[in-house]
Structures are given as C-alpha cells and as structure tokens.
C-alpha cells in the first residue's frame, strides 16, 4: 500500500509540475500584454518598457519561472507596485483586485468548497440511492418515477433550474434568503440557508446522471454469476445487494464522482454566476475578462490541483474497494 501511495504521489507531483509550467507559459502566450494593466493612462512605449523592466518581464523565462516557484514555496518581494513582500505561498499580485492573489483565493476557496462538498454529498446520496432503488425495483412504479426524475434532471441546465428555484423560493414565496456566503464558523444556519438553493440545483442535476449510471451498473452487476452464487449460497438479500453487488457496481461511479467533484472544486462558474456568489469559478471568469494574468494562472493551477487530488483520492478509494488494485 505504501509503495502504491508513493508512486501515486510522485505521479501527482510530476503532473502539478507540468501544469505549473503550462500555466506559467500561458502568461506569455495570452494575447494580452501583462504590463498594460499596470500602466497608467496615456501609456506610451517608453513607459510600458519601464514597467516591464520593473516587473522583471524582460528576464529570461526560466528565471521568471524560478522566481514564481520560489514565491510559492518561500515567498518573494514583488515590488511596491504589487504590494511589496508577498508571503509564501505567493502566486503573484492581482492588479484588478489590488491584493495578493493568495488573499483573493483564501477568500473565494471556502465559498466554492461550501458549495461543492455539501452538494456532492447530496447528489451522491440521492443519485446512487435512487439508482439502486430503481434497479432493485425494476419495472415498478418506483423505477419509472426514478427514470423520469433522472431524465428530467439530465435534460435540464443549471442556469434554468437555478433561476427557477430563485424565482419560486426567494422572489415569490420569499422563504429562502437571497443566496450569499457566510462562513460556517460564524453562523452555520446562515451558511446553510445562503447556499441551500445552490446545493439543491447542483444535487438535482448531478444526481440525475448518477441515478441513471447507478441503475445501469446495479442491473449489470445483479446479472453477474457471483451474485447468483451468493444468492444460491442462501445469503440474505441485504448482504447480497449491500456487500457484494453494491461494492462492485459503485467502482465506476467512484471514478466519475472523483472527476466531477474535482472539476466542480476547480470552479462552479455557472452555479456561482446563477446564484451571484463569488467563488473560485467567478473569480476565474472575472480574471479572464479583466486580463488579470496572475489570477488566471493561479486559478488554472488551483483547478488542476483539485482535479489531481480528486484523482488521487479516487485511486486510493479504488484500492480500498478493489483488492486487485492494491496488489498491482
């Protein structure tokens, strides 16, 4: 297991290194001169050059990358135009937000985590539960209702469902407050009530897909020989379904869930936009719109970190669920 873990961690490190290089090079590849945002009005070529020099943008790219990475691990001095000393992990200075990128990320990450994690728990419980129930009650009214639910959810868009929820529960019935973010540590009730609509919208859409997948996986597993054998051995239904069939059926779902949660943590742009909540996704969108290159790089990096970590967790879960993975 330790060897497996070490191999995976090495692979994660290499992936993150590659992503850091690509996101760093993106800074130069984008059709936006990074100095224009730092240059005052009536900026002429001479002044642009002066700003470029001050920012160290004329240094060799390898040196600039080394300085960027140094900032992440030990911090660095960004100069007076960029707020001076930037403590580790320093991801640069956002001249759109007029603060260190890490300050912005420190503020928006908890928001995105607060949206995605409870929503993921909801959609997994609801989706997998509904899929299993549907498979076990195949052909019944419950099955048909579950299929109808998943079909509806899978064919909807978040911006529509979100707007509908807002219209009904916030603007018409006025029973749910306007979506907002409060730290769970400050006021757990306010935290939940401010995000509940986002959770419901995400859970409804995602659970629909998981319900269909879970149903299909479960039906396939239930027709396997080992399930028939378990039944023939006289095992209780609960044991056959819960311990044998569910465990086998859930493996592909874990992969998809890992990718979905990882991607969602990288930025739930549409959710955050629909509900007007400022998380990582919206921050990334604003960064792109405002040409805030240090912020774009940081959000790309963070999103990649989430996906890579989610994949690592999936691998570990695989190892826990399937003994063959541990052996290999």
């Amino acid at each position: 297991m330790a060897r497996f873990l070490i191999k995976r961690l090495l692979s994660v490190s290499l992936t993150l290194f590659a992503v850091s290089v690509v996101s760093f090079l993106m800074f130069f590849a984008l059709p936006k001169d990074p100095v224009t945002g730092m240059c005052p009005k009536n900026c002429n070529a001479e002044r642009l050059e002066r700003v470029r020099q001050e920012l160290g943008l004329n240094d060799p790219k390898v040196e600039q990358y080394a300085a960027y990475m140094k900032g992440i691990f030990v911090g660095r001095d960004l100069g007076s135009a960029q707020g001076g000393k930037c403590e580790a992990p320093c991801l640069g200075y956002s001249y759109v937000n007029s603060e260190a990128v890490t300050d912005t990320l420190g503020r928006v990450l908890p928001v995105t985590l607060s949206i995605v994690i409870p929503a993921a728990i909801l959609w997994l419980l609801l989706g997998v539960g509904l899929g299993m129930l549907s498979a076990l009650r195949r052909g019944t009214l419950v099955d048909r209702l579950a299929i109808g639910f998943s079909l509806t959810g899978a064919s909807m868009q978040l911006y529509f469902v979100g707007a509908l929820l807002l219209l009904i529960f916030t603007y018409q019935l006025k029973i749910v407050p306007v979506p907002h973010y409060t730290s769970i540590l400050d006021n757990p009730f306010d935290w939940a009530s401010g995000l509940v609509l986002a959770w419901i919208a995400l859970a409804f859409l995602f659970s629909a897909i998981y319900a269909r997948l879970a149903r299909a996986q479960m039906l396939e597993t239930l027709s396997e020989d080992f399930v028939r054998t378990a039944r023939a051995k006289g095992l209780a239904k609960r044991t056959v379904y819960g311990r044998h069939a569910l465990r086998a059926a859930i493996t592909p779902l874990v992969t998809i869930a890992g990718l979905d949660v990882g991607a969602a943590l990288g930025g739930t742009v549409i959710t955050e936009t629909t509900f007007g909540i400022q998380g990582l996704g919206r921050t990334a969108v604003y960064a792109v719109r405002g040409g805030d290159l240090p912020m774009i790089m940081a959000t790309v990096l963070i999103a990649a970190v989430f996906v890579v970590i989610a994949n690592l967790v999936v691998d570990l879960l695989y190892a826990a669920i399937d003994p063959r993975v541990r052996l290999s």
């Binding site: 707020g83 807002l166 007007g276």
Partner: protein
C-alpha cells in the same frame, strides 16, 4: 476622459424626446433635461450644510447591489463610474458639483472655501483656501498639506487607474512621472504645487488651465496624511475625509461604510449623512440584482440595483404598477456619434449628406427599440453646461435621403463602415439607411475588444464608425477640444477620431479655453454649431438614457447630471 465601451449598454436605457417618467414623489423627470450650471462666485454657496432632502430620515442601512467590485477605492485611482459615484461618501475633493438631480449644477468649494481663485485671470495661477473644521476620520484636521500630498501621490506610477489631468498640467507633459518622481521626493511637492500656509494651496501652470476647478472635483484631489499612505494597499482601505468611513471591505463581496463622526455637515455643501450605513453588495448579475430589489424583502427594500434594469426585465418593471414609484429614468451624458474620418472623407458635401441621410429613429430601434436612447443632433449632449439645441441638417427623425442625394449632386460615394463584431446589426441598419441616400457602404467588422484601440489609430482603414463619449465634467472644454482639436492628433491613442484639423476651429478652441470657465459655457455651444454647420466631422446620433429600480424604502437617489449614474449624497432609508 472616459470613452465607455459597449458594456455600458448593459444598462437599460430608456427614451426619449418629450417623454417623462414619474418618480416616487410623483415628480416629473424630463428625460431630455439640459444642464444649467454655473461656477459659484459667492462663498456662501460653498458653505454647508446641504439643503435637507424633503422627507429624508436618519438611520438604516442603504444597500447598493452591483455585479462587479468597484475597480478602485483609493481616491487617487478612482475613475470608474461606480467608483466616482461612491467616492463622495468617503472622500472629499477641493471642489464639488452641487447637483439638484434635474440638470442644475453649481460648482462649489468642497474642502475649499470657493471653487478657486483665478489669481491673474489668465488661468495659469489658481489658489484655493481650505475650510476650517474639515477633518479626517480620526479627527485630525485637513490642511493644505494633506490635500497637496494627495495630489502629489497621484504622480506615483504604481497608483494606476486614476485621471491624469492635474499631473499633466502641473508637469506640462503627458509623461508627468518622468518630470517629478514621487517616491524619491515624498517630502516635497510636484513642480507648480505649493502650500504657502496650512490654509492655502496654490497651482501654477505653464499654460492656461481654465478647467482646473472642474478637474479638482474628481476624487483625485482628495487629501491624505502621509502617515496613512499605504501605497497600493490604500486601494482596499482608504482613509476617509467624507461623511462615511470604510469599516469593512471584502473585495468582490462587500463594502461597508459607516458614519464618520468627525465629518461636520456645516462644512459640506453637497453631502448628507442620513443612513447609518452604506453597503455595496457585489456578486449578483444584473438580472439577479434587479430581481432582488423588485422582490423588496429585508435589506433589499432599501437597496438600489446599480447595474440598472436589464432588458429582460424592462417590460415587467414598466408593466408593474407597484413599481411605478420605484424607478428612476434619466438621460446620461454618454453621447453616440457616427464618426467620419475626415482624412479619408475630405469632401464636405459627403459629410453633410451623411448628416441629412441619417435615420436616428431606425438606429435607436435597432439599438434596443424605442426605449433605448434619446436622439441627438448636437456634438455636446444636453447635459453639458450651456447646452443649446440646434439641428444643422434638419431631416426629421428618420432622415431625408432625397435631401442627401441633392447635396451629393449625383455623386455615389463609396464608404467603408467599421463596426464592432458585437454590434453588426447596427452596421446593417446603417448600411441600409445610407444606401437609400445614394451611398455605397462596405461593412467591415472589427473585433469588439480591439475596436477602440484600432479606431484611435490615425491611419486606420475605415471611413465611418460608431463612437461614444462621456466627459469627466459637463463642460464643452472636456468635449469639443478633446474630440476635434487637430493639433493633438498622434499616431495612436487619439480621442480626435475624426482626425479633424481646422486652423480656424483650433484658434476658436484656444480663444475659449483662455476664458474664465464661468464665461465659456455659451461659447462652447457656438463652436459646437459652427463645427457642425461648417465642417460636419461627425453625425450626432443619440444619448443613452438610464433606467434604475430601487426598493420601497430607498429614497433620495438621483441620477448625477455629471456622470449619468445614481448619486448617493442625498440617499436615505425610509423609516
């Protein structure tokens, strides 16, 4: 000067000619109101307190909902419309506009006792006396030293984003930061700026700068004690000299301002301190922001949606009787014109024919229907001080193709129309419209985000295109010379996008610019008409009209006659 890009069209803009809307107080707002303004000569005009707002009460929290954060809060860096409307709450300037919300503007002294003394009557030396009793949020007095320091720090190239008029005028060059280095001379002042004593601040320029009192109404002349200067970090936590101080700021999420107990109403002729708090709530998109205000629940009952009424909600808002008293409509100073590249279109008769041919009504319809904008036949918008309405080429609301053909006298000019790729439907309308009058129009699209820069290049390949201009203060000086003085034409970054250069007009500009600002107003209107009648370097099209909705408990908000956005100096929460 700010040339607003098409994003400004996110505001829903309502019309028009003789149309008017009813406000919460049942008062009629003329959407084509014109600005009448003066520079206060009586020091009493600059004294506080500001006249009480009828029905205003103290207390409560006034909320402003906006999608994006305010780009800068540091007064020396404030230049966005949201920033300019918010800054007066926490930053005082040397001068300020007293605005009745109906077009009557008076430039008064804010921190200064008067809007300035033109010492030698040549606009080269200006003197301002600081009022007694003006204080920062910590109770320390505001003197000429702190005001001068505020102006000096605007020379710091690190502090990007703000206006650069005063710096450029003092340094007598656009590269002002090469003439005086703020960081190396923090204990001194830029050339031409002196503080003979704690009450006096003096500006000396190499050339006449008659617009100085107007330029000093921008927040960039706000004071700051050197000890409170945190450089770029001041942007998130400015030090207040106004009626409110910033008590909490989470960029992109929330800005909370509470009463500054050291602000003295008796020193302030333009601001009030009615609400206990002002809160800017950032995040909701324009639809969500307007919906929150329309729902009118909780704190949103005392809120205003700063992004305006989105087009999707216009019919709902207009059709809802309950919202009648909760909307504000007003023309903005943002004027659209069809720019004619006079380097390429050298034949005056062609330029005049374009003016006869233009179908303003058709263009407004395509721009957003009959509730989008108000037609304009002058170069300066009606919100300009001294504005005089005229129509140099009377052709009716839909244009007169026959008259245009007559002026063209058999010619069939071939013109290239440059149009942003986000507004191709306007290009199609213009092509259809102008071809009826005998023009042959070739439409060339330009990437929307590059259009502004590309059309500002002197050797661009287009004959006509759409332009938009909103001046920083409602004076012809901030419009006509900027847009039509040919001596300022350079290779790139031109504001004179007609590339119009006429010696007689340039001489006129010089003559009027050298006049005392209070005497300039009517002269600019004359030049406006002269340019159009004799040279026609553009086709005036329309001004945008703003449309806002607020909660049932929000009161006192009016549309600034200077910027065309909601002003909060009179805002209150109905109890």
């Amino acid at each position: 000067m700010r040339m607003k890009v098409a994003a400004a069209a996110a505001l829903v803009l309502v019309v028009s000619a003789a149309c008017s809307k009813t406000t919460e107080d049942g008062e009629e707002v003329d959407q084509t109101r014109t600005a009448t303004g003066v520079i206060a000569t009586d020091p009493k005009d600059s004294l506080g307190p500001a006249a009480e707002v009828p029905g205003a009460t103290k207390g409560g929290t006034f909320t402003v909902i906006r999608e994006n954060k305010i780009s800068h809060l540091d007064p020396q860096r404030v230049y966005s419309f949201a920033g300019l409307m918010n800054a007066p709450l926490y930053a005082r300037s040397l001068t300020a506009f007293k605005d009745d919300g109906k077009g009557k503007l008076t430039l008064v002294g804010d921190l200064a006792e008067t809007p300035g003394t033109n010492v030698n009557k040549d606009c080269k030396v200006w003197e301002f006396k600081v009022k007694d009793g003006v204080k920062f949020e910590d109770g320390s007095p505001i003197t000429s030293k702190e005001i001068a320091y505020g102006i000096a720090r605007s020379f710091d190239p690190d502090l990007t984003g703000g206006p650069t008029y005063v710096q450029e005028w003092l340094a007598d060059t656009a590269d002002y930061d090469t003439k005086w280095n703020f960081k190396a001379n923090k204990a001194s002042l830029p050339p031409g700026l002196t503080t003979p004593d704690a009450k006096t601040i003096k500006f000396e320029f190499a050339k006449p700068r008659c617009d100085l009192p107007f330029a000093l109404s921008l927040p960039s002349s706000a004071p700051l004690p050197p000890a409170k200067d945190t450089g770029v970090n001041l942007d998130n936590q400015p030090f207040s000299s106004g009626p409110y101080k910033i008590t909490k700021h989470t960029p992109g999420v929330e800005l909370v301002m509470e009463r500054n107990e050291h602000w003295d109403a008796k020193t302030d002729p333009v601001r009030h301190q009615y609400p206990d708090k002002f809160v800017w709530s950032f995040g909701p998109d324009p639809d969500a922001g307007a919906n929150r205000v329309i729902a009118d629940t909780g704190g949103d009952a005392a809120a205003l949606a700063f992004n305006g009424v989105p087009s999707a909600l216009v019919s709902k808002v207009e059709g809802d009787a309950a919202l009648k008293g909760r909307t504000i409509t007003s023309p903005t100073p943002s004027a659209w014109r069809l720019t004619i590249n006079t380097q390429r279109v050298t034949d005056l008769s062609i330029r005049q024919a374009l003016n006869y041919a233009i179908d303003r009504q058709g263009l407004i319809t395509v721009y957003g229907g009959t509730t989008v904008a108000s037609p304009l036949t002058t170069l300066m918008p009606p919100a300009t001080i001294g504005y005089k309405e005229y129509d140099a080429y009377p052709a009716g609301a839909t244009g007169n193709p026959e008259k245009a053909k007559e002026v063209l006298a058999g010619k069939a000019p071939e013109l290239v129309l440059g149009i942003g790729d986000d507004s191709t439907e306007l290009g199609t309308q213009l092509k259809t419209n102008l071809e009826k009058a005998g023009f042959k129009i070739t439409v060339r699209t330009i990437p929307a985000d590059a259009k502004l820069d590309e059309t500002k290049k002197k050797d661009n390949p287009w004959d006509i295109w759409l332009d938009q201009w909103a001046a920083d203060w409602p004076s012809g000086a901030a419009i006509l010379p900027v847009l039509f003085d040919g001596r300022s034409i350079k290779a790139e970054g031109n504001s004179n996008t007609s590339y119009f250069n006429n010696d007689a007009i340039n001489t006129e500009f010089d003559r009027v610019l050298a006049m005392d600002p209070s005497a300039q107003a009517s002269e600019w209107s004359k030049i406006d008409e002269k340019i159009m009648k004799e040279q026609a370097p553009a086709v005036p099209l329309f001004v945008e009209v703003a449309y806002y909705v607020h909660g049932s408990k929000a009161g006192g908000v009016f549309i600034s006659s200077v910027f065309g956005y909601p002003a909060f100096v009179n805002a209150y929460v109905k109890q």
